[in-house]
Symmetry: C2
Subunit: 140 residues, 2 copies
């Protein structure tokens, strides 16, 4: 049901500054960067095995990530696990009394469906679930 850690997201003040550690010193590649206008963040993707490190830099101070940075400083923000059936996973979580931020999956442009769990239900950790589109569907 849970396939792997898809990504670990880290809030940073500056992607350029953070790459001095993650790329230059540690040696991880950066495969791409993108700006997520809805979340008001710039994201750098650094694969590690079957997972990725995502560096999140807020583009606006008054955004969710911007406020998180101001309040808590840089550091780990959330962990995302890939599931094979997100509806079944959310139903199982709900049956166990877990509080969901997204009770039904949201959908990204590439077809990935996702939902977040409230940290209060998950040992203080912001957990995201991902279900990737089946091969071939992403380009439809």
């Amino acid at each position: 049901m849970i396939k792997r850690i898809d990504h670990l997201a880290i809030v940073v003040e500056s992607i350029e500054g953070a790459l001095g550690f993650w790329r230059d010193a540690l040696g991880l590649p950066v495969t791409r960067t993108e700006t997520n206008a809805r979340e008001q963040v710039e994201i750098a993707f650094l694969p590690v095995g079957e997972s990725e490190i995502e560096l999140l830099e807020p583009t606006e101070a008054d955004s969710g990530i911007g406020r998180h940075l101001a309040k808590r400083g840089a550091g780990m923000h959330h962990v995302c696990v890939e599931v094979d059936d997100i509806e079944a996973a959310l139903a199982r979580l709900t049956a166990h009394g877990v509080a969901l931020i997204n009770e039904t999956p949201r959908v990204r442009d590439d077809g990935t469906r996702y939902a977040f769990v409230y940290p209060r239900s998950a040992s203080g950790v912001l957990v995201e679930l991902y279900e990737k589109p089946e091969a071939g569907q992403a380009s439809i």
Copy 2:
């Protein structure tokens, strides 16, 4: 050089309580638990793909993890990446001005060598490096 995320460690007040989410609701298996007397923690290991979630419960309030829990509450504590050559990795980090908690690797009972990086050098993240013993050496 960096092979994968070995584990993501999460500090919890109670492993038994935390398993209500990670095992029962999310569906991850628990393959083993162990008590680490030196670090004064009990650890539950939950594999996810090629990585593991580690739940850390302090056995003493006046321990590193116990103080972390009292100060910051439950949540993500550190991320560990496996490298193929920890000496080379630490040399590269040092050459880039990264501050190391362990300037030379420490060794666990199973032969795994590890070292931690100061969060101030790593976007506020406590990063651990692991080098596993070669196959066959662990049982020597």
